[in-house]
């Protein structure tokens, strides 16, 4: 992928963005890195934009150590908001004019003036807690207005996150989410690790997006190395990505039924997801498809018998999940709960650069399999379903349609996969080069930034998962709905907290 670089002065970012990029581009990710070791003073901010037809443009600016501030893009480009707050927390670079400069990744008890992702900060040093006013939510006033705090530990078996509802009676009029409770510091852990072992880091980010993260990482490394991946490995990678998409969508259909208390749907969905995961364990060795995709190809080959078994199980589940979707959409209560709930407006999805099925349900049609063709997707024939209502029903139907597409893709891949090698190890990689690896996870586009260091190690690894891009828009879908509909809205996005928090 050829990246066009535009250099900008740190005090004139907004103007450069307007003149060079403007509204035809979509923000992919922003990476802040401390490049003191390479002789740069000192922090480099790279905003990556998709400018259409698979082109990527980089807006690069350097922020010096003595005056670590830059003019924020978030006022003009809401999608940049979280990236700049994260850079502020982890590197200490201050976005001047940012409309919401609260702490994001590090919570308020982390000491001021200490920035863990700077190169000179030791990885394992845990800071003492400072007592602080705490995170400030907008205050609530008025007769009959209540504030409901939920989380971070929730009642069910689910990941941690905090939601602050402001309600009148049962109707939500404002929602704010506070995340990064599962921030583990994986990006700093990755620094210094051997590049070929880096798939281990990428798979630890998230359980249900493991294959797509490993694939993004491998693609970034292969671009830097300039090596080609054997064709059979590309097909196997697409197979793994589609198997991941399939089991996630099958599970999500079941979870959406759990959100409305429809136990027939949730139990059948869970049963079918389990059938797929047991097939993964039997044939691929891991229920979450970990351990297969590494830079250079895939770890091992699959025999014809194993491929037929994968085909048999996926087609069997496909028939049953389509039957289940028919039953759910024939149920009046389900339709009543789903229709019109949690509408994601197209303009909001656009401004925040939302991705994935949630965006496609609001007519924002990006899919990394088409926009940045990777693995074997150029040779495969598939549709990208799109809807425009943007409600829970639309997101549910998109998943049902995509599940059918994934099963169809699995059949195509197994039918047309060529023979050959499956692994060409990349060898020695040049130092201080970077690349983006972009794939489509079940939740949307993942963008991995990998920069190599000396001796085949990782210098900087920045992961922007689909969940990171989409979490900011979830809060916009709740107002106007009743509180009990929020778990349903949340499940209709089915975003990972772990992918976002890292």
């Amino acid at each position: 992928m050829k990246i066009e670089v535009i250099r900008a002065d740190r005090r004139q970012l907004a103007e450069t963005y307007e003149s060079a990029l403007g509204s035809g581009s979509r923000l992919l990710t922003m990476v802040a890195s401390d490049e003191k070791d390479i002789g740069i003073d000192r922090f480099v901010l790279r905003y990556f934009f998709a400018t259409g037809n698979g082109q990527v443009t980089e807006l690069k600016t350097v922020v010096p150590e003595t005056d670590p501030s830059f003019s924020s893009l978030a006022g003009k480009l809401p999608a940049a908001s979280w990236y700049e707050r994260e850079a502020q927390d982890l590197f200490g670079v201050q976005p001047v004019g940012h409309p919401d400069p609260r702490r994001l990744v590090l919570h308020d008890d982390f000491p001021d003036g200490v920035y863990p992702l700077r190169r000179d900060y030791p990885l394992e040093q845990m800071q003492p807690r400072q007592s602080n006013g705490g995170f400030s939510f907008p205050p609530v006033k008025g007769e009959g207005v209540f504030e409901i705090p939920v989380g971070p530990i929730h009642a069910g078996v689910i990941e941690p996150g905090h939601f602050r509802f402001q309600v009148m009676g049962d109707t939500v009029f404002h929602l704010e989410a506070r995340l990064f409770y599962t921030h583990r510091g994986l990006e700093k852990r990755a620094e210094g690790i051997d590049l070929l072992q880096g798939s281990g880091v990428s798979e630890q980010l998230c359980g249900v997006c493991s294959a797509s993260h490993a694939l993004s990482y491998a693609q970034a490394v292969e671009q830097i190395a300039g090596t080609d991946v054997p064709v059979r490995a590309l097909y196997l990678r697409s197979l793994l990505a589609e198997l991941e998409r399939f089991y996630n969508h099958v599970g999500d259909i079941g979870n959406l039924c759990a959100g409305i208390g429809f136990s027939h749907g949730s139990n059948h969905g869970a049963r079918l997801k389990e059938a797929l995961m047991q097939m993964h364990y039997r044939i691929l060795g891991h229920r979450y498809l970990r351990g297969m995709i590494i830079p250079g190809g895939v770890r091992r080959d699959l025999t014809g018998g194993q491929l037929s078994e994968i085909l048999r199980v996926t087609q069997d589940v496909k028939v049953q999940i389509q039957q289940l979707v028919k039953e759910i959409t024939a149920n009046q209560i389900a339709l009543d709960r789903y229709r019109g709930t949690g509408v994601l407006r197209q303009d909001i999805a656009q401004q925040f650069a939302a991705v994935g099925p949630a965006a496609r349900a609001s007519r924002i049609g990006n899919d990394a399999r088409r926009e940045f063709p990777h693995a074997a997707y150029r040779q495969l024939d598939f549709e990208i379903p799109m809807l425009e209502e943007g409600d829970v029903l639309a997101r549910f139907l998109i998943r049902a349609l995509e599940a059918g597409q994934s099963a169809e893709l699995v059949r195509q891949i197994i039918g047309t996969i060529p023979e050959g090698e499956v692994l060409t190890p990349p060898g020695e990689l040049p130092a201080y080069r970077y690349a983006l690896g972009i794939t489509e996870s079940p939740r949307g586009e993942n963008v991995h930034f990998v920069m190599t260091g000396p001796n085949n190690t990782i210098y900087r690894y920045r992961v922007r998962s689909a969940s990171y891009a989409n979490w900011p828009v979830v809060a916009f879908c709740a107002p106007g709905n009743i509180v009990p509909d929020f778990p349903l809205i949340n499940k209709s996005f089915e975003l990972c907290y772990a992918c976002c928090d890292r």
Partner: protein, 195 residues
């Protein structure tokens, strides 16, 4: 694959040294475990493994807890794989409710804490409060490599690297993630340990 380490936490009796826990890592390469090796018992299938433990599990639960075991799941910062495996325990295939196991919404209703994740900085307070809110006698089972202290993320500026850094743990169930049957075996181990 049954691979559960039992650890005693009694006042004054110290803990297992970290080195021993680290040696338990099943992977040969520390950063890149090779899951693509077919597991040894892949032919046996989950049904037989489940059958082997379900009678014992039901019997222990009836004997110790008088019919039911209430479990509170606590995610202290996992990669969500372990968390989805715990969710799988409630699906129609494993269906742990028929053994008398139920997942409860509050630690105040729980007999056992099933902890996934290695305790992040932002969740330390939640872990301590949850443990304190669970009434005695209580059992803690650490599920997954991160919770056991043998995980990849390890100790960082935002991560303690193991549940036993914050609260006492009775049984460790390593795995990345452990399968639902392994988690059940860990729960059974915790029950057998109490008598």
């Amino acid at each position: 694959m049954l691979y559960v380490l039992k650890r005693l936490w009694k006042y004054g009796l110290g803990t297992l040294p970290r080195r021993q826990l680290n040696e338990m890592q099943t992977a040969s390469a520390p950063y890149m475990p090779d899951y693509s090796r077919l597991p040894q018992n892949s032919q046996r299938g989950y049904e037989e493994e489940l059958e082997m433990i379900q009678e014992r599990l039901t019997e222990r639960i009836k004997k110790i807890f008088g019919r039911s075991l209430h479990i509170r799941h606590l995610d202290s910062g996992s990669s969500n794989a372990c968390e989805w495996e715990v969710t799988a325990l409630l699906n129609p295939v494993y269906d742990v409710q028929r053994f008398g196991i139920d997942f409860v919404a509050s630690p105040r209703h729980a007999d056992m804490l099933l902890v996934t994740g290695g305790v992040t900085r932002n969740l330390e307070e939640a872990v301590r409060k949850t443990y304190a809110a669970t009434p005695a006698p209580k059992l803690v089972v650490a599920v997954g490599d991160d919770a056991c202290g043998t995980g990849f993320a390890g100790r960082t500026y935002a991560h303690y690297g193991g549940v036993d850094q914050i609260i006492p743990v009775h049984v460790y169930v390593p795995g990345d993630p452990p399968t639902p049957v392994s988690i059940l075996q860990g729960i059974l181990k915790a029950l057998e340990q109490t008598h």
